[in-house]
Structures are given as structure tokens and as C-alpha cells.
Amino acid sequence: MIYEVTVGERRLRVEIASDGRFLVDETVVPAEAVETRRGWQWSVRIAGRSHEVTVLTSDPLRLLVDGNETEASALDERAAAASRGAGAVRGGHHELRAPMPGLLKTVHVAEGDVVERDAPLMTLEAMKMENELLAPARGRVVRLAVGAGTKVERGAVLAVLEEAD
């Protein structure tokens, strides 16, 4: 299987050959990897250099490499091709998502309201700090997904806006 990998700003093609050999950009790399914690940490030796790589978070993938944090991604070729085809969000609609987990304290708008860009839509309390969530664009509130007093997870859709002229 061949993977398209990014590490920070680098792009690499990584192949694990059927005989188990490891190729980077079509060159065999003399690497030895030992999993030191299942699914989370590997000790990797490459030509005598010793590296410790830990998965810090998997979505998005962040790795700790010898004490340095870096973003990374690995897609097998089929998935990489598919993701290039997708991408377009439904035109004219904006989803307001929770930027952090917390308690939705106040909802300042009602469905049907037309709001200006940067108008406060909701107040989200997280770690005892209040954060005003602002409208990403001028538009009409077509859906309020949650009400005040609800605990929300990061990434949860809170409201949907339809762009208005």
C-alpha cells in the first residue's frame, strides 16, 4: 500500500512493500520501528539515529517527534484521490460550530432572524469564561440546533445561516 504523507510542510510518499520493507519516495529506508505503546508510541531507529514518536492526538493527527510537535497526515492513495474530489460545502449556507466544548449559556437570536456579519449569535461558557460566537456572514438564521443551557462538544453544529443579500 502506498500512502501520501504530510509531516509539517513536507510531503512524502511512503510505501510498505509486501516483503515489509519501508520505502520513502521510492527509496528503501533502513528503518526499524518498535511499538512502545500500542497505537500511541513508537521508537524508530534509522541508520543508528534514535527517534521517539508519540501520537499526541489523532484527529487532527499531531505527533511528538523527539520533543518537537508537528502536524501530520497519512492517506492511502485511494482515500487521497477521493478527498481531492470532495470538499465543496453547500453553497450559501454557513454552519456555526462550537469552537470548544462548553455550556451554551445564551442564544441571542431566533430562527428567521436576519443578522449582520459578526453579530453575536450565542454565548458559550467554557472553563468559566464567556465566549461570544459571532455570525460568520450576513444571513438569515434558518436553524438553531441547540437551546440555551445545553452542554455541547467541540465541533457540534449550533446554528445554520443562509446567506442573505
Binding site: Y3, V5, E32, E35, V55, S58, K128, R154
Partner: protein, 481 residues
């Protein structure tokens, strides 16, 4: 945890309380006794005085240590502890009241001859009055909660256009966090350093200052790095800050450990901010520099003992620096993050201290403060302390939740910080870094390999590449060629 450790050393029986969310917490496991006090929401557990006192009574406690969050600065709680016939480890309620309301504390400091920043003499009633006061003082100003600290309710306001929105959010925060939603207005001192002075006061009139900490590295007005000595403070300024703190403590009739906070401007002029009437999160910095155990001293003072030393006995040795490791996504504006700790490696070695409540399996929720652990390094001088801090931070691994560790690693190596050139605006001007640290080819290759292995493992629903798997053997053979 910190208090339990002191109790164990002094042979004092320790009794912990915990909310439903904290049944597995380390303080519960380490204490001699532990009692549940209710649900995860602080108001139903850690902020419920009746429940706390009920446990104290049932367990036969002599004293209550309030820690450094929750009720640690509640005068009413200090009174309630005393009225229940117990000893409160901290200043008495009336002293806390004198200093806890910030405008009153400012007045007290001014009367004690300590410089105070221009601001309103009393809390302001409403937005209209805030507008008038801010005009009088001149923008930029700070809106602050009169009822407490910790960055809650605090906002910088650059111009009148921002005042209304800031007022609304700050009032809301203050109402949620403190007994009063009252705010006051203070002149914002730009390019200032946040320097605080640790004091100890006994019940017999003995007051000493122990040294300062620079706490300017902040986000949302909450501290991320503290160090002592402060790079910008010389011996003369140190003594003036120490004497100012002692004057305030005497004027307030202070008892126990406390901290006077100051802003020091670019010319070395200082003004009083507030007194924290409790042990502070960053107290280990002072402990490492002075060799004193502040919690043990708190307990002795609370027991009525006089301070076992005088001002001239206080010795400061070397430098110490603390990194507060938080569960936050530093790449998205330090938003709090949640998750389960999957892997943990705490640093160790010469000159390194770790104060931590972390363990593998701990679920970090949004119920409490995002502070995970403190990594504190001590050295013969600032250079050695920095080298040890840098080494310790890079040795630390916390996987499963985004943390501030990369931020700390960056700052400890960043030329302005290393040179001691920083103020409270540092984080906004120095983070995120313009050019992130680049991996060399070998490290990047190792990372790429692990990115694939980790993704394959997840896709298959199981980890791949056992140590003796076929390709790993092949790799080893390659390595031997």
C-alpha cells in the same frame, strides 16, 4: 495533592473531599480519608460550604486548607470554618474582606503609601458611569471584577466603541464566578510586567517577604510561565516591592501566606494591583529559590506558631521557572480542550520538580480549570534553570489531549524570553511562531513512518506492527547492511 504532601511530612492526618467527577483523582487516592461531596458541577460540590463543613465535622478535622481555587478567597467560608470551631488555613474572613474587594484593597494600599494605578475609587454602577470614568482616566483601560481575580471578568478596552460589549461579557463572567458582578475601571499600563511578591505573616505581628515572581507570560490574563528572580527586577526594586507588600500586609492585619501583585512599567516604576489572600499556583517557584515549604509554614502559622525565622534569615539561591501545562489547543487561540490521557511521561532529573494530578486514563473535562501539571526547574542561575526547564518540558509527554507543551518548548528557546525581554503582551506578539521548528530528514522520515503506522492501526481497528512483525525484521536487516 500539595497540601496532602505537607500533611504527610508533618504527620498530620489528611482528609480529602471529591466530586463525582474526581473519584479517581490522585488527591483522593493519596489522602488518609476521602469523602464524596456531590456532583461534578462546582456549585454542587467544591463551592458548597455546608457540604465541606459537614465532612470536616464527621471526619473530626481540626483545620481546613482551602487550596488555591474555589473557596480559597471566600471570606464567608473562612468565617464559616471558624464558626464551626475549626481553624481556617489562611487569613481570617475580615482580612479577606478588606482585601478581597479590589477597590477597597487599592484604597488600603494607597493609604499605606504604596503606588496604585489610576482608577475608580469604588465599583462603577452601570455602563454609563463606566463610560464617564473611562473618559476621565483615558483609554486604554481595564475592566475588572471587583469581587475576585483569576482573569475572570477582566478585559482590556482600547476605545469607547469596545466598552459596551466588554461590559456585557465581563459582568456576565463576574456574576458567574464571584459573589458580586460589580466591575471597576483601571488605567491600562501598556508594556508592563506582572511582578508579584510573596509574603508570610504570623498571628503575632511577624511579617516577612520572600521574593518576587515575574508572571507576565499570560493569555486571557491567566499565567502560563512564572519565574524568580524576575529578570527586570534588581536588588533595589526587589526590596522596595518587598517593603510595599509588607506595609500592605501590616495595614490589613494579614495572616498566613499571601501575594501582593504589582505592575512594573518599562521604567521600573511599580503600581499595586491586588492581594491574593491564598497560596498561589506558582508558589513552587518561591519554594525552590528559598528552600522553604510554604504549605508547611501555612499550617504552622494556622496553628498559632510564630514564624520560625526573620527577614534577615531569608536566603534566595539561584533561579526557578515554572511552566503551567494546560489542556488547551494553543494553535486555536488557547481554547480549552478535553480528552482522555492515553500516555503520560513526567520529567525528572536534577533540578526538576513536577506538581501534577495527571494519570493515564484521566478524562479531562470542561468542568474544571484546564491546568494539568506544573513543571518547575531550579538552577544555580537563570541560564541553568532555563536549560533544565527546556530539557524537562521536551522530556514530558502527554498524549490524548492537546496541551500547551509545544508553547512552553517554544518560549523557553525564544531569544526575547531567553534575554528576559518580555511583558504582559508577549504571548500575543510571539505566538504562534512564524517559523515552526523544522524536523531534520531523519526525524521527518520517522514521523512519516509513524503517521502511516498509526493510520493503518486505526483503519484496521487494531494496532499494527508488533515489534517482531515482518517489515520490522526487514528494517533491522537493512540497518545492518
Amino acid at each position: 495533592m500539595r497540601v496532602i504532601r505537607a500533611c504527610h511530612e508533618l504527620g498530620i492526618r489528611s482528609v480529602a473531599v471529591y466530586s463525582d467527577a474526581d473519584r479517581q483523582a490522585l488527591h483522593v487516592r493519596l489522602a488518609d480519608e476521602a469523602y464524596p461531596i456531590g456532583r461534578a458541577s462546582p456549585r454542587e460540590s467544591y463551592l458548597a460550604p455546608a457540604k465541606l463543613l459537614d465532612v470536616a465535622r464527621r471526619a473530626g478535622c481540626d483545620a481546613v486548607h482551602p487550596g488555591y481555587g474555589f473557596l480559597s478567597e471566600s471570606a464567608d467560608f473562612a468565617d464559616a470554618v471558624r464558626d464551626a470551631g475549626l481553624v481556617f488555613v489562611g487569613p481570617p474572613g475580615d482580612v479577606q474582606r478588606r482585601l478581597g474587594e479590589k477597590t477597597q484593597a487599592r484604597r488600603l494600599a494607597a493609604e499605606a503609601g504604596v503606588p496604585v494605578a489610576d482608577g475608580t475609587a469604588d465599583p462603577v454602577r452601570d455602563l454609563e458611569q463606566a463610560r464617564l470614568e473611562a473618559r476621565r482616566i483615558g483609554y486604554p483601560v481595564m475592566l475588572k471584577a471587583a469581587g475576585g481575580g483569576g482573569g475572570k471578568g477582566m478585559r482590556a478596552v482600547a476605545s469607547e466603541a469596545e466598552l459596551a460589549a466588554a461590559w456585557r461579557m465581563s459582568s456576565g463572567e463576574a456574576a458567574g464566578a464571584f459573589a458580586t458582578s460589580a466591575l471597576f475601571v483601571e488605567k491600562l499600563i501598556e508594556r508592563a510586567r506582572h511582578v508579584e511578591m510573596q509574603i508570610l505573616a504570623d498571628a503575632h505581628g511577624g511579617v516577612v517577604w520572600l521574593g518576587e515572581r515575574d508572571c507576565s507570560i499570560q493569555r486571557r490574563h491567566q499565567k502560563l510561565i512564572e519565574e524568580s528572580p524576575a529578570p527586570s527586577v534588581d536588588e533595589a526594586l526587589r526590596e522596595r516591592l518587598g517593603e510595599a507588600a509588607v506595609r500592605i500586609a501590616r495595614a490589613a492585619g494579614y495572616q498566613n501566606a499571601g501575594t501582593a501583585e504589582f505592575l512594573v512599567d518599562a521604567r521600573g516604576a511599580f503600581s499595586f494591583l491586588e492581594v491574593n489572600t491564598r497560596l498561589q499556583v506558582e508558589h513552587p517557584v518561591t519554594e525552590l529559590v528559598t528552600g522553604l515549604d510554604l504549605v508547611a509554614l501555612q499550617l504552622r502559622i494556622a496553628a498559632g506558631e510564630p514564624l520560625p525565622f526573620t527577614q534577615s534569615d531569608v536566603r534566595r539561591r539561584g533561579a526557578a521557572i515554572e511552566c503551567r501545562v494546560t489542556a488547551e489547543d494553543t494553535h486555536r487561540g488557547f481554547v480549552p480542550a478535553t480528552g482522555r490521557i492515553a500516555l503520560l511521561r513526567e520529567p525528572a532529573g536534577p533540578g526538576v520538580r513536577v506538581d501534577s494530578g495527571l494519570f493515564e486514563g484521566l478524562v479531562v473535562t470542561s468542568d474544571y480549570d484546564p491546568l494539568l501539571m506544573k513543571v518547575i526547574a531550579h538552577g544555580a542561575d537563570r541560564t541553568e534553570a532555563l536549560a533544565r526547564a527546556r530539557r524537562a518540558v521536551r522530556e514530558t509527554i502527554v498524549a490524548g489531549v492537546p496541551t500547551s507543551l509545544a508553547f512552553h518548548a517554544h518560549v523557553l528557546d525564544e531569544p526575547d524570553f531567553v534575554a528576559g525581554r518580555y511583558d504582559t503582551g508577549y504571548v500575543s506578539t510571539h505566538w504562534p511562531p512564524r517559523s515552526p521548528a523544522r524536523l531534520d530528514d531523519s526525524a521527518a522520515t520517522a514521523a512519516a513512518l509513524v503517521a502511516v503506522l498509526a493510520s493503518r492501526g486505526r483503519a484496521a481497528g487494531r494496532p499494527v506492527a508488533s515489534p517482531d512483525g515482518a517489515w520490522s525484521r526487514a528494517g533491522r536487516e537493512e540497518a545492518l547492511r
